[in-house]
C-alpha cells in the first residue's frame, strides 16, 4: 500500500504548464482559470510548473494569466517533452515543494506524463476530469469525470495521498483572463537531470493537421455523421461552415469510414468542443459523440430520423434530408436580415 503521508504539509495548487515549441498550450490557460478557483476556495496559492528551454517569456505569460508563482526548469534536455526527463523533474519538484493539488491537461503529453508521475510519487490520479470542486467539509478536491464511454459520471476523491492529481479534458474549463499588470514570482528549480536519464529521443516533430486548433477555438462547428452517406458530403458542410465562419467537425463513424481525417473528430475519443453554435448534420447522437459537444451554447440537429437521440440535446431540431436542408439553410443565411425585417413589419 502506498505510504499515507502527513497531509498538512502539502500546500497550494499546481498547474503543469504544457508548452510545445515554446508555446503554452491553450489547456494550460484553462487550468489556470480553474486552478484560480480552487486556490481561492482552499485559501492557497496558484502555481505553475514550467519545463522547457528558454522559458522566460512563457513564465511571464503564466503570471499574466494568474499564476502567483512559476516554478521553472529551464534546460536543453527539457526543450521537447520526454517521459523520462519530465517525470524526473516534476517528481523531484513534488517531493521538494509538496503541492496539495496538481493539474495537468489531458493531452497526449499530459496523459503520458501524469500516470508516470503519480506512480512515482505514489499518489492517486483521476483522468480526464470535466468538473473539479472543493468539498466544503474537508477541502478535498472532488474530481468528476465521465466513464463507460460517457454513460456515467463518477466523482473521485483521493483519500490519504498527496498531491491529489487530475488530468483535465481540454476545452472544458474556462480560460483565465490575461492581465499583463499582474505580479508573480519566478522560482528556478534545481534540476537533477543527466543525459543518460532520458532513454527516448525525439528526433522529429511532424505537423499534419492544421484544423485541430481551429476546432477547439471555433465559434461555429458544422459536423457531419454517417448520414452524409459519402465522403463528398463534407464538401457541402464545408460550404456552410465557410459561410458561418466556422470549421468542419465529424463523428467517429465518418473517420472510421475514412471520409475525413481524425483531427476533425468530435467526441469521447476525439476533441471536446464548446462552440457558440454546433450544427450536427446526419449525426445520430451516440453518447460518445455527445460527450464531446454537449456544452456547446446552441446545438442544431439536422437528421432524417425524428427519433435520433441527437434531438434530445438539440436546441433546434430539423427533421429532413441534410442534402436539402443545408443548401436551403445557406440561402436563408444569405437573406438573414431581410427575414428578420419581414418578421418585424408583418
Amino acid at each position: 500500500m502506498p505510504i499515507v503521508k502527513d497531509l498538512s504539509s502539502y500546500k497550494n495548487v499546481w498547474v503543469f504548464a504544457e508548452q510545445r515549441q515554446g508555446k503554452i498550450m491553450p489547456v494550460s490557460i484553462e487550468l489556470l482559470g480553474e486552478g484560480r478557483k480552487l486556490a481561492t476556495e482552499t485559501g492557497s496559492e496558484l502555481c505553475a510548473i514550467l519545463l522547457g528551454y528558454n522559458t522566460e517569456d512563457m513564465a511571464k505569460e503564466l503570471i499574466a494569466y494568474g499564476a502567483d508563482k512559476v516554478y521553472v526548469a529551464d534546460n536543453a534536455l527539457l526543450e521537447n517533452f520526454t517521459t523520462d526527463a519530465y517525470t524526473k523533474v516534476i517528481s523531484d519538484a513534488i517531493y521538494e515543494v509538496k503541492p496539495e493539488i496538481v493539474l495537468m491537461g489531458a493531452t497526449h503529453i499530459g496523459r503520458d506524463l501524469a500516470p508516470r508521475v503519480a506512480a512515482r510519487v505514489d499518489t492517486g490520479l483521476t483522468a480526464d476530469c470535466t468538473q473539479l470542486e472543493i468539498d466544503p467539509e474537508d477541502k478535498k478536491i472532488l474530481q468528476t469525470r465521465p466513464a463507460f464511454g460517457g454513460n456515467i459520471m463518477a466523482t473521485i476523491v483521493c483519500q490519504g495521498h498527496r498531491p491529489q492529481m487530475s488530468t483535465v479534458r481540454p476545452g472544458v474549463m474556462s480560460k483565465a483572463e490575461m492581465d499583463e499588470s499582474r505580479k508573480g514570482e519566478v522560482i528556478a528549480l534545481d534540476i537533477k537531470l543527466a543525459k543518460e536519464d532520458v532513454r527516448t529521443e525525439v528526433v522529429e516533430i511532424v505537423k499534419e493537421a492544421k484544423e485541430l486548433v481551429s476546432l477547439t477555438d471555433a465559434d461555429v462547428i458544422v459536423a457531419g455523421g454517417k448520414g452524409l452517406g459519402k465522403a463528398e458530403g463534407f464538401e457541402l458542410l464545408k460550404q456552410l461552415a465557410d459561410k458561418m465562419g466556422g470549421v468542419v467537425g465529424a463523428s467517429r463513424a465518418t473517420v472510421d469510414e475514412g471520409w475525413i481525417d481524425h483531427s476533425h473528430q468530435v467526441g469521447q475519443t476525439g476533441t471536446t468542443v464548446k462552440p457558440t453554435i454546433y450544427i450536427a448534420c446526419g449525426i445520430s447522437g451516440a453518447i460518445q459523440h455527445i460527450a464531446g459537444m454537449q456544452s456547446s451554447d446552441i446545438i442544431i440537429a439536422i437528421n432524417k430520423n425524428a427519433s435520433a437521440p441527437i434531438f434530445d440535446v438539440a436546441d433546434y431540431g430539423i427533421v429532413g434530408d441534410l442534402y436539402e436542408v443545408v443548401p436551403k439553410l445557406m440561402e436563408a443565411l444569405d437573406k438573414g436580415e431581410d427575414l428578420v425585417n419581414a418578421l418585424k413589419t408583418a
Binding site: 500500500m1 492517486g124 532513454r199 483531427s263 443565411l333
Partner: protein
C-alpha cells in the same frame, strides 16, 4: 524476442444504454469484448511475429474467470501463451493497484523485450495503467504509438500527437501503448480457435503466485475512491422546427439572428 501484451476484457460501451425511467446503466445483455486498443496492441505484437521467427507473444490479463474467453480469442488470433491473473484480492483496484498487480506478474514472468498495452480501456477511459506498469518496472515508455520499426534492440517509433506525430528513437526493454492506427486487428482463424482450446494452455495465477503483500493490490491499496456516481442529466427539450424545408431553415436563421448569435 519476448513480447508481452496486456489485455483487458471490457463491456462494449457502444452497447451500454441508460434506462430512461430509472436513469441507471443497463448492462444486461451487453457483450464483453477484448478492449479495442488492446486488440490493436496485440496486432502490433503479432505483426512482429509474422516478420521475425524468434518472437514469442504472451498475453496477460487480470480479471474475473470469464476473462478466459477473451484470452482464448487472443490465442486464436495467434498469441503463443496466455496468463490469467485472477483472484478476489485484485478486485476493486484503481489504476495504482491494477498496475501494481500487473507489474508484479510481469516481474514474475521475468524476461521481456517489449510490453504492449492499449492506450486506454473503453470502460474506465483513464489511459493510466500502461505508463504506471512501465514506471513500476523501471522501463521506458512510448504512448499513442501509431507505427514502429525495430532493428535489434533499437526502435524507431511514431507517436501520435493531436496535430501530427513525433518520431522517437528508443531501446528495449520498453512499454508501448497502441492506438487504432497501429494496425487493424486480424480475425481469428478456424484452426486458431481449435488450437486455442486443444494445443495452448492458459496459466491461471492467483494472488499467492505474485509474492507481494496483500495490501499492495485491490481496493485497499487504491489511493482513489469513487465518491459517488450518477447519470449525466439530459438537457431540457429544445425546439423542433416545423414546416417545409424552406420554412424550417428560415425560422432557424431568424431565431439565431434574434439571439444575436449570427
Amino acid at each position: 524476442m519476448k513480447v508481452i501484451v496486456c489485455v483487458k476484457q471490457v463491456p462494449d460501451t457502444n452497447e451500454v444504454k441508460i434506462d430512461p425511467v430509472k436513469g441507471t446503466l443497463i448492462r444486461e445483455g451487453v457483450p464483453s469484448i477484448l478492449n479495442p486498443d488492446d486488440a490493436n496492441a496485440l496486432e502490433g505484437a503479432l505483426a512482429l511475429k509474422d516478420k521475425y521467427d524468434d518472437v514469442n507473444v504472451t498475453v496477460l490479463t487480470m480479471g474475473p474467470p470469464q476473462a478466459e474467453d477473451m484470452l482464448r480469442e487472443c490465442l486464436a488470433m495467434g498469441a503463443d501463451d496466455a496468463i490469467h491473473l485472477s483472484g478476489r484480492e485484485f478486485a476493486g483496484g484503481d489504476t495504482w493497484a491494477t498496475s501494481n498487480a500487473i507489474a508484479a506478474a510481469i516481474n514474475k514472468m521475468g524476461d521481456y523485450d517489449i510490453i504492449f498495452a492499449g492506450r486506454q480501456a473503453i470502460d474506465g477511459d483513464t489511459a493510466q495503467v500502461g505508463p504506471q506498469i512501465a514506471e513500476r518496472l523501471g522501463i521506458s515508455q512510448v504512448t499513442y504509438v501509431q507505427n514502429f520499426e525495430i532493428d535489434g534492440n533499437e526502435l524507431k517509433i511514431q507517436r501520435q500527437l493531436e496535430d501530427g506525430y513525433e518520431v522517437i528513437n528508443a531501446k528495449t526493454p520498453i512499454l508501448l501503448t497502441a492506438i487504432k492506427e497501429l494496425g487493424e486487428p486480424r480475425y481469428m482463424t478456424v484452426k486458431g480457435i481449435y488450437d486455442s482450446f486443444r494445443e495452448k494452455e492458459i496459466k491461471v495465477w492467483g494472488f499467492d503466485h505474485l509474492g507481494i503483500e496483500n495490501d499492495q493490490v485491490g481496493l485497499k491499496a487504491s489511493p482513489t475512491r469513487v465518491h459517488k456516481s450518477f447519470v449525466p442529466q439530459p438537457k431540457g427539450q429544445g425546439v423542433m422546427l416545423e414546416g417545409s424545408v424552406q420554412e424550417m431553415t428560415e425560422k432557424l436563421v431568424v431565431a439565431l439572428k434574434q439571439k444575436h448569435l449570427i
